[in-house]
């Protein structure tokens, strides 16, 4: 890739108000925020035409820092707000950032339905395998036998494969990367924003303070190394696949809705014409 110059990042941040961030030292969410902002910058989008939504969680605190139209919704429901917003304002690029618990525990239903409906939204799942905000409970992506505050004897719940689930639910675009691959984050987010239809980017991220500490006491650097060494853009046994996993062209909801409006209005005018004819 040719090195392309990006606008200065501070243009996209609410630098005067809300920094430094609330996140713990070494937390991956800040890297994701950087990636999202670079993705937007790379596309040269006007800040006014971008909306950044989130649910509740450490990840949910992201919108505060970004100088877009920002909406911090309720836990798990960001995609429902996004659906209404996008339908009401088709011109907005609507990006939704969610934690793994937010997107897949309490918000799992909205996630699969948004994928099914295939409205043109960009969903970013910051998957740190844990509930950061509430202090380190298991999430639906916590690996088997990992420790969390609520799995002191090791986790026995099978984790979701977020990307496979998104695919099965009908998403148009599904990709995975990690915070170590920050450049990929930027590129995939840009691709996802440009994709017409529901696009999911899962980003494996580090929560050194809870997940790392409770699991072999890993710090941020060690966790990033793990991402580096245990993922691959190829299908390699024992490694987690990164990259674009689904990219298909399916009827996008807004487009379909526009057609439906056309049908409805035609029907109505036919009805009117018939009524007019009848009253002659």
């Amino acid at each position: 890739m040719a090195v392309e110059k990006l606008p200065p990042l501070q243009d996209y941040l609410r630098t005067k108000k809300k920094f430094p961030t609330v996140w713990c030292p070494g937390c991956g969410i800040g890297i994701v925020l950087g990636g999202v902002i670079r993705g937007v910058a790379r596309l040269k989008l006007n800040k006014d035409e971008v909306a950044l939504l989130s649910g509740i969680g450490c990840t949910g605190r992201m919108p505060v820092y970004a100088d877009f139209n920002t909406l911090h919704t309720t836990h798990g429901r960001a995609l429902t707000f996004a659906t209404g917003l996008k339908l009401a304002r088709p011109g907005l690029k609507v990006i939704v950032v969610m934690g793994d618990g937010d997107a897949l525990a309490i918000g799992g239903n909205h996630f699969i339905h948004a994928a099914r409906r295939n409205l043109d939204l960009t969903a970013i799942v910051v998957n740190n395998g844990i509930y950061g905000m509430t202090g380190g409970q298991q999430s639906p992506t916590t690996p088997l036998s990992a420790r969390a505050i609520t799995t002191p004897y090791g986790n026995i719940d099978q984790p979701f494969d977020v990307c496979f689930l998104a695919k099965a639910a009908g998403a148009s675009f599904v990709a995975r990367t990690t915070t170590y691959h920050a450049g990929e984050v930027e590129r995939l987010v840009a691709r996802a924003i440009n994709k017409k239809g529901f696009a999911v980017v899962e980003i494996l991220s580090q929560c050194p303070v809870f997940y790392g500490k409770m699991n072999q006491g890993q710090n941020a650097v060690e966790m990033l190394r793990w991402f580096r060494d245990n993922t691959s853009t190829q299908s390699v046994a024992g490694k987690i696949r990164r990259g674009i996993l689904v990219d298909q062209d399916l009827p996008e909801y807004l487009g379909e809705y526009q057609k439906l409006v056309g049908r409805a209005q035609e029907k109505k005018s036919v009805r009117k014409r018939m009524a007019a004819g009848a009253s002659k």
Binding site: V22, W23, C24, P25, C27, C58, R61, G132, M133, V209
Partner: protein, 195 residues
């Protein structure tokens, strides 16, 4: 009503004000048989935001569990100092980390600005035990809770690593507090000797 002793420990997340409060409270409750209520206030920040612990100690029942007017304020950050220096009893004592807290207070409150982290670093090699230095100072200076009780409580809280360093910091603080009680001002070199 018997005397109601109110201690407020304030600083930022990661500075150990909760652990400090816990050891102080447990020392009074478990090792000196007092009634104690401890509360803490959390910030949204995961780490690094304002943190506050309040410990109320009395021989009697404790109703209102929070500090009304502190007997002792430990201020480990400027923000903590600015927020709370007004809410003090007459003759209350403020112990402030001199590396972080500036500003003047007039009136009936005594402010001790002390290099708690520096002391901690000197005795333990790390600044992380500043909270226990402060506890020691409080004990030495005001005698709310005895050093023995504090030590026992600290031991109970830290079965493994950290115990020795924290104990050292505590002892240093106690000594410091006693000196200060005698009105002595301690220079950095003296400090080093004390500890």
């Amino acid at each position: 009503m018997s005397y109601r002793y109110e201690v407020r420990l304030a600083g930022e997340g990661g500075q150990g004000v909760v652990t400090g409060g816990l050891v102080l409270a447990e020392a009074a409750a478990r090792y000196e048989g007092k009634n104690v209520v401890m509360t803490q206030t959390y910030a949204p920040q995961q780490r690094g935001g304002p943190a506050r612990t309040e410990v109320v100690i009395s021989e009697d029942d404790i109703d209102y569990p929070k500090v009304l007017e502190a007997d002792v304020l430990l201020a480990l950050s400027q923000d903590a100092f600015d927020r709370y220096y007004r809410q003090m009893k007459r003759n209350g004592v403020i112990i402030a980390e001199s590396a972080r807290v500036g500003g003047e207070v007039s009136g009936h409150v005594t402010v001790f600005r002390m290099p708690l982290e520096e002391v901690s670093r000197q005795v333990t090699g790390s600044g992380l035990s500043a909270n226990f230095v402060a506890l020691g100072v409080i004990s030495g200076l005001r005698g709310i809770v005895s050093p023995v009780a504090l030590r026992s409580a600290l031991r109970a809280r830290f079965p493994g690593n950290g115990r020795e360093a924290n104990l050292k910091a505590l002892s240093a603080g106690v000594l410091l507090g006693k000196y200060m009680k005698q009105g002595k001002i301690i220079s950095p070199t003296e400090l080093r000797q004390v500890t």
